[in-house]
Symmetry: C7
Subunit: 94 residues, 7 copies
Amino acid sequence: MLKPLGDRIVIEPQEKEEKTASGIVLPDSAKEKPQEGHVVAVGAGKVSDKGERIALDVKEGEKVIYSKYAGTEVKYDGKTYLVVRQDDILAVVE
Amino acid sequence: MLKPLGDRIVIEPQEKEEKTASGIVLPDSAKEKPQEGHVVAVGAGKVSDKGERIALDVKEGEKVIYSKYAGTEVKYDGKTYLVVRQDDILAVVE
Amino acid sequence: MLKPLGDRIVIEPQEKEEKTASGIVLPDSAKEKPQEGHVVAVGAGKVSDKGERIALDVKEGEKVIYSKYAGTEVKYDGKTYLVVRQDDILAVVE
Amino acid sequence: MLKPLGDRIVIEPQEKEEKTASGIVLPDSAKEKPQEGHVVAVGAGKVSDKGERIALDVKEGEKVIYSKYAGTEVKYDGKTYLVVRQDDILAVVE
Amino acid sequence: MLKPLGDRIVIEPQEKEEKTASGIVLPDSAKEKPQEGHVVAVGAGKVSDKGERIALDVKEGEKVIYSKYAGTEVKYDGKTYLVVRQDDILAVVE
Amino acid sequence: MLKPLGDRIVIEPQEKEEKTASGIVLPDSAKEKPQEGHVVAVGAGKVSDKGERIALDVKEGEKVIYSKYAGTEVKYDGKTYLVVRQDDILAVVE
Amino acid sequence: MLKPLGDRIVIEPQEKEEKTASGIVLPDSAKEKPQEGHVVAVGAGKVSDKGERIALDVKEGEKVIYSKYAGTEVKYDGKTYLVVRQDDILAVVE
C-alpha cells in the first residue's frame, strides 16, 4: 500500500478513452487541461507552525479533477498511480 | 456537481458575443482584459496556520469579473466552466 | 455597481490631457510614471491569518496617485475604470 | 499635499550639483550609488498580520540617503518628489 | 554513522536492476520518475518559529518513494546514500 | 553622523593593501571573497510582526567580515563607508 | 577568533587528498558533491519573529558533511575556513 506524506494524495487516473460517468470531457482549448481520477490514499496533512496537523479536504474514494501536469507517476502492483499535492486538485466531482 | 477545493471557485463564463446586461464591454487596449461570468460553486476556503477556515468573499449566483488568463477550463454535463482562485476575481458586479 | 474584492480598489483614471486641479504633471524621465485618479469603490480588505479583516487605507472619493502599469481596465456603463490593489497606490492627494 | 500610503515616504531629492552641507559626495565606483534628500511626508506604516500599525522609523524633515534607483517620481506644484518605500532608505544623516 | 540535520533524511537507494518486493516498477513516461529506497536515518525535524521541534513523518527502516532528482549523494563506509529533505519523499510503501 | 535604518549597518572598510592585524588575507580562489572592516554605526533593528524591535547582533567598534559584493558605498566627510544589512555580515573577528 | 553571526557556522574543510577516518569518499557522479570538515565555531542562532533565539543543531568539534558550493572562504591566521549557513550542512558524522 502507498501511504502519501503530508499534503500529498495518491490518485488512480481515469483512462482518457473511457467515457466518464459524470460526463466530463476534457476540453481541447489552449487552456491547461485538467484530468479526472479517484482518490486512493490521502496524507495526514501538513504540520502548521503551531505544531498542529491540518487535515486534508479530500477523502479516499472521492472522484476529483486535478491539474494535468501535476504530480509524479508511480507504478505499483501493476497499476499506474499519480502522487499529487492537495493544492493541485481543483474540485471534487459529486 | 463540481465542489471546488479551498479558495477555488467554479465560474460559468458569459459568452463574449452576448451583450451583457450590466453593460460591461471588454476593452481592447494593451492591458490585461478581464472577463465576466456567474459563480456556480465556491470552496470552503483555505485553512489558516491557526487551523481556522477562512470563508470566501464571493457567493453562489453572483456575477463577477475575473482575470481573463486565470484558471482551468472544465467541461461538465455539456457546459464549459472555469475553476479559478478567489484572488483571480477582481470585483463583484451588483 | 462594481464591488472590488479584498484589497482591490476601483479607480476612475483622470484624463491625461486634462490639466489637474492639484497641479500634478506627469514627469517625462526614464522613471516609472505614476497616474492620477479618483477612488470609486474599495474592497473590504484582506483577511489576515488570524481571521481578521484588515481595512484599507483609502476611501471612496479620494484622489490618488497610482503606479501607471498596475491593474486591470474594466469598462462599465460606458466608462473605463481601473481595478488595482491598494499596494499599487503611492499616495493620496489632499 | 501628498500623503503617502503604508510604508511609503515622499522625498524631496537634493540637487546633485548642489554641494551638500554634510559633505556627502556621491562616489563614482561601480557600486550602486545612493542619493540624498529630505523627507517631506511619511505614511502611517504597514498593518501587521496581528492588525497593528507598525510606525515608520523616519520623520518629516529628516535628511536621508536612499537607493538611487528606488521609487517613483511625482511632480506636484512644480516640484519633483520621489515616493519610496522605507526599506529603500539606507540611513538618516544627522 | 550519518546523523542528518533538521528535516533531512538519509536513504539507502534500491538498486534499479533489482526487482522490488512490492512490485514497484519505475515508469518510462515523460513525467518525473520517482525512486525507491530504505530510510537509514532521520533528522530531529525543523524548529518552528514558536521554538518547537516538528518531528518528521518517516521512520528509520521504512521503505519510501522519493523524487529521483532530489538530494545529495554521499558515500560512507563503501555504500552510497542519498540525503534528501522530507518534502522530497512522496510516499511510504507499506 | 550616519544613522542606519532597521537592520542596516555602516562599515568603514579596511584598505586591501594594509596588512590586517588579525592576519586575515583575502583568498584568491573562485569563491566569493569576503572583506574586512569596522562597524561604525548600527540600526535599531527590524520590527517583527508582533511589533517588537529585534536588536542587532553586532556592535559599534567591532571588526567584521562581510560579503564583498554587498551593500552600498556612501562618502561622508571625506571617508568612504559601506551600508550593508546585518545578514551580509559573516562573522565578527575577535 | 572568528565568531559567526546568526545561523552561520565556521568550518575547517578536510583536505580532499587526505583519506578520511570515517571512510567517506566523495562520489564522482553528476550529482552535487558534498564535502567534509570540522566545525570550528557556531553562531548564536537566528532570532525568531517571536524574539526568541533558536539555537543551532551542530556543535563545535563535530565532523559534518556540507554542500560543496555553499559558503564563503575566509583565510585567518594562515588557515582557510569556510563560513556556511546551518541549512547547508547535510549531516553530522558520528
